[in-house]
Structures are given as C-alpha cells and as structure tokens.
Amino acid sequence: MKEKAVVQGFTDNLDARNRKGVIWHVLFQVSTVIGIVALIALMLNIINGAFGYIAYEARVDPDTLAVDGTPLTEQSQEQLVTLLQSTLSRGAYNKLENEKPFARRPREEVYQLVLERIIRPEIVGVWNLWPSITDADEIRTTVAQEHPNAELEFVSWLTSDFVSRPQTSEPLTAGVRTAILGSLWTILFTILLAFPIGVGAAIYLEEYASDTWLNRLIQTNINNLAGVPSIVYGILGLAIFVRTLEPLTSGEVFGLVDPTTASGRTVLSAGLTLGLLVLPIIIINAREAIRAVPRSLRNASFGVGATKWQTVWSHVLPNAMPGILTGTILAISRAIGETAPLVVVGASTAISFDPSSPFSKFTTLPIQIYQWTSRPQDEFRSLAAATILVLLILLLSLNASAVLLRNRFSRKF
C-alpha cells in the first residue's frame, strides 16, 4: 500500500516534467542550429558578394580606336603596341617596357594592357550573386535604360588574375598580390621571433623550472598575456618597434633604408609586433606537447648517462615536435588574420609595389579587406569579399596541414 502511494506521488507530475524536458531539449537544439545558421549565413554572404553582374562603360569608345577599318579586337600585336606608344605618356610606356619588353609580350597580354590603360572601363553598376540569379531580367532592363552604352557581364571577382595582380585604385584591375606578399613577409618575422623564444620558454617551464615564486609569476603572466586585446599589442608595437627602435626597423643601422619608407612603419615592425602577440599561444601549446611526452622516456635517457639538455634535445623535443608544430601553425593562422594591431603599427593603405625587404612598407590581406570594406562603393565591397575568400582559403589550408601533421606524426604512448 505504502509503496504504491510513493509511486503515485512520483507519477503525479511526471507528464509535466517530461513536457518541460522536451521543451528545453528543443530550445537547446534551436540554439545549436542558430550557431550553425550563423556560420552558413557568414559563408553565403561572402560568396554572395564575390560573384555577380557588373555593368561597365568604356571611358574611351573602342570603335574610335579602329585603324584602317580593322576593329580593335582584330588588330595584330604590333598594331596594339603602336597604339599604346602613341596614346600613353612616354614615361608610362617606358615603365611598361622596362617591366617586360613589348616584343616579348604575347598579343593577349598587350590587348589586356590596351583595355586597362586606354579604354579603361568604368563600373556603373554592381549586383551581388543572389539578385544576379533571381532578378537577371530586371537588371538587364535597368542597365539598358539607364546606361545604354554599358556592357553587362557576369563576373567572379576572385580570379587567378586577382591573386596575381598588384593593388591599384581601379576596382576592375585591382589585385591582392601586394597584400599576399606583405602577409607572407610579416609572418616570416613573426615566426623568427615567436617560435624559438616560445619553444625555449616552454622547455624551460616544463623541464627546468622548479616551483619558485618567479616561475609561478612567469606562468601566470603568460596566461594573462594570452588574454590581452590584440590592439594593445599594436600600441606597444607602435611605441617600441616603430618609434623607439626606428633606426633598426627602418634599416638605418644597416644602411639599407628603403627610399620609399624612411620610417619604422615596416614589415619588420609588423612581424615583431605579431610575434609578441602569438608568443603566449605558442608557449601554451608547446608546453602541452612537451607535457605529453612520458616521464619514462626521460628516465631511460638519464639512466644511460645523458645530461639534461641531451635528454631534452634528443628525446623530449623530437617526440613533442608534431604537437609543437601544430600549435605553431594555429598561432600563425591567428597572426595572419590579425588586423587591428597592424593598423596601429601603420600598415600602408595604398601601395602598388611588392614588399622586397624587411624594411619595406607593407599591407596585408586583412588590412586590404578592412580598406575595401570601409569604402562605400559596392565594387570595393565585392573586392573585399574576394579577398576574404583568398584569406579563408589560405587559413583553411594552414589548418588542414596542422590536422594532417597531428594525424601523421602523433605518437601514442
């Protein structure tokens, strides 16, 4: 009897409790779905911006460039070169000739030059991918009415040309080669600073440090540095690398001043600033990798008479290396995506020449995205979207290589 009463008391509100359980379960699932939807929306939004219709008008009508009745599209390589020579200023022509002699340029390349330099198409309308698919007819009629001379074309802003062309102020001929090279140069110095010091610090903390107040301070400090906003590192870099160490970072002490800069706002300053930024991340990851190497391996090494450093160098480090490298790659992908500190350190907004030394002015992929996103015109937003795709592809391949490295070389003890 008594037992039954208890069971009844238990079942009394069981339905209500289960209903509540279901409702919350759905709520938890919905939250997760919202997170995924956000990611999908982010990706689709970028793709939406990177493709679509553009309408452009020629600043110079190609028909006026016909020679003896031969339209521009059918002219020979020599005729096109003559056209360039007669239209461009002598300086501009010589500059092109110096980059690569006209005689050695194929007709297609010269034709592109004529398009870029003489006809100079001007964008009069830009549409994203979604309206380009759904409202194609409407776009055609609008363009036909408002810009009767304009040509409508469906373009991908991300092309192989986009990746290999230098930056220009013309949206149709702008590229990101300058920014890609800038990013690579910067990352080189980031690695040179952060990798040796980061791994050294991790070895010290894991293998050598005893439990003293100083070592505890170092540990706490590293954890706290990992949480400092990146822009603070930018301000630090501005004061130390750009200003105080200007003779060094502008190349003055080496007598290597780049004629275009003569200030500390260089690739070197940017790389070192990012190096300070990712140092805590590298240390934390490397420590974890070193900690995963089993004690027995070290003891075996000590047992045959190896010194501490011999043990670390020949046994601990080789076994921890896959983990250390994975952590370093993740830190590098963080550095490649950083924007704020580089704006503060002084990334250049408009340079069209490639960085050629540590003392060059620089721009990087994220900086380029920031610049183009901040412009109100739609064509620059589309350029930003295409640059984001380049950046994401770069980051994705870095992360994929980190995963591969982890799977390929990681050992289980």
Binding site: R17, F28, T32, V199, Y204, P229, I235, L279, G346, I388
Partner: protein
C-alpha cells in the same frame, strides 16, 4: 691474465675518477638561454605597463587634459580639448552588452546540448564547426556585420530608424564571434562533472533536463562564470567588428540603432592615418590602451580566481 688486468684498470680508474658533480658550462649556458626565453614574456608585460603608462602620463600632463573631467564629462572632442571618456566607454559597454545577450544564453545552451544531449556522432561534427567559427578572422565578421546584419536590421526595423553604422549590428555579430569561446569553455566545465553525479540523479528518477539544470550546471557553475567573464573581456577588447560596423565618431547615446565609436574603434580610426608623435591624439591612444589593458587584465584574473576558488573538486 686478461681478467686480472681488466680488474686492475678498473680499480685504477675508480680511484682516480672524481665522482663529484661536474660543472658543464654548455649545459649552464643553455639553461640560461631557456630561462631568458621564459622571462621574455615578463619583458612584454613590463613593456606594456611602462610604455603605455609613460605616454598616458604625458597625456594627463597636457594642459588641456584633466583627469577628473575625463571620467566625469560626456564629450570626447580632441579638437576643442574635451576628453570625457564616457561616449567611448558607453559605446564599448553597449556593444559588449548586446554581444553577451546573444553569446551567454546561446553559448551555454549549445554547451549543455553538446555535453548532455548530443550523441557522440553529432558532437564530433558540431565541435569542429564551432572551431571553424572561432578561427575566422574578426575582420571577416566586420564585413558580415556591415553587409549582412546591418541591412537585415534596417529591413526589420525600418531604414529611418536604423542608421548605416550602429552598435546593434556590431554587438549582434560580436555575440556570434564570442559564442564558440563561451561554448567550448562551458562544455569543458560541464564534462568535468563526474558521471557518478548524473547517474545518482537518474537513479532517483530525475529527468534528463533536471539532471542537466539542477545537478550538472550547478556543479560546473564556477567554470561557466569564468567562461562568461573571459567572454566579456574578449568583447571589450574586440576591435575590427566595431571599427567597420559601429560607426566613426564618438557619440554619447543609448540607442543601439545609432552609430557610436567604441574605445577600440577610436584607437583604430585615430591611428589609421599617419599619426604624428607627441600629439594629443598620439598620447590619448596610449591612455585608452592602458585603460583597456587594465580592464581586461582584471577580468581575466577574476576569471582565473573564480575557477581556483570555487571549483568543486571530485575525488
């Protein structure tokens, strides 16, 4: 014969070799080098405090700047010598608040779902997706805020209500950015709660929800609190989303649909051009940077202290 001579040499060696610990200079040198590497991070911190402190001091020594007025007045106009931090601070607090309104409930809910409800297959697909979300550079989120969230808000609330640059759009997208951070820290805290606790509750007849909300979440509360505080610290220091989407120009407003510049956004805009050294603007970014540094440092230390102090230790 041979055995005897071997014994002899052995004896001879043992008597001459010095068994005291040798000083190996190479080892000492390497250890010193490694210690220097470890100590390097201290230089960074000292550098931040010293450099930012020095320049911030110069800022407050300038005749037009008054420390008291900085924290009590509501206008930031360097051109006419007004340096009230409230317009910037208010915008930072607003974007942070909006971000946390999104990130805390969603982040904790996703973590509970992953840790208590999802089967291993779902969890193993969802966690990498969250990692991807966390690895996307913040400038990409800035682009997303400006080209997706802002038009969406303008569509919903009306074009005359929502300005092109507004704190709501920046805050919402920042919430999406911080969501994976809160989720992963919360999930770690939840999965650290031992199985036996859950099974005891199930044995008493509790439903899955009751186990999750009344047993696991309270047991992991310190970890969740730490995650939230780290999230807030991240939101305050977040720069590129607000620089792109929240607006340029300090504006003391409580409306989320008008543009307002945050502390970080202001630093980026001011230093974007060629900033001349020792100008008021130059010194002011150091004062603002120092402020950011101490606020985020305090939050991070608090978060670590909570974990240490209130962690429930099982076995």
């Amino acid at each position: 014969m041979a055995g005897l001579s071997l014994e002899k040499t052995f004896e001879k060696k043992a008597s001459t070799s010095n068994l005291r610990r040798k000083t190996r200079w190479g080892e000492t040198f390497i250890q010193a080098l490694l210690f220097f590497s470890g100590f390097f991070s201290i230089f960074t911190t000292v550098g931040i405090v010293y450099v930012l402190g020095k320049e911030a001091l110069l800022f407050f020594q300038m005749p037009e700047v008054d420390l008291l007025a900085t924290f009590t007045t509501t206008e930031w106009k360097p051109q006419i010598g007004k340096f009230g931090i409230w317009p910037l601070l208010n915008a930072t607090l607003m974007t942070t608040l909006i971000a946390m309104l999104i990130a805390i409930p969603l982040g904790v809910a996703v973590a509970i779902y992953l840790s208590e409800y999802a089967n291993p297959r779902v969890r193993n697909t969802l966690k990498p997706i969250l990692e991807v979300l966390a690895g996307i550079p913040t400038i990409v989120y800035g682009y997303f805020a400006l080209t997706f969230m802002t038009p969406l808000l303008r569509e919903i609330f009306g074009r005359d209500v929502v300005q092109i640059y507004n704190t709501a759009s920046a805050g919402l997208v920042m919430g999406i950015l911080i969501l994976p951070l809160i989720t992963s820290m919360t999930e770690d805290a939840l999965s650290a709660v031992p199985r036996s606790l859950r099974e005891a509750a199930f044995g008493m007849g509790a439903t899955k929800l009751e186990v999750a909300l009344q047993i696991v979440v309270p047991a992991a509360l310190s970890g969740i609190a730490a995650a939230i505080i780290v999230g807030i610290s991240r939101a305050i220091g977040e720069t590129m989303i607000v620089a792109v989407a929240a607006g340029a120009g300090p504006n003391f407003t409580f409306s989320p649909f008008t543009g307002a510049e945050t502390i970080t956004g202001h630093i980026v805009r001011i230093s974007g051009g060629d900033l001349s050294y020792d100008s008021v603007d130059y010194n002011s970014i150091f004062a603002l940077g120092l402020f950011l540094f101490f606020v985020t440092l305090t939050l991070n230390i608090t978060s670590q202290a909570i974990v240490r102090r209130f962690r429930e230790v099982y076995e």
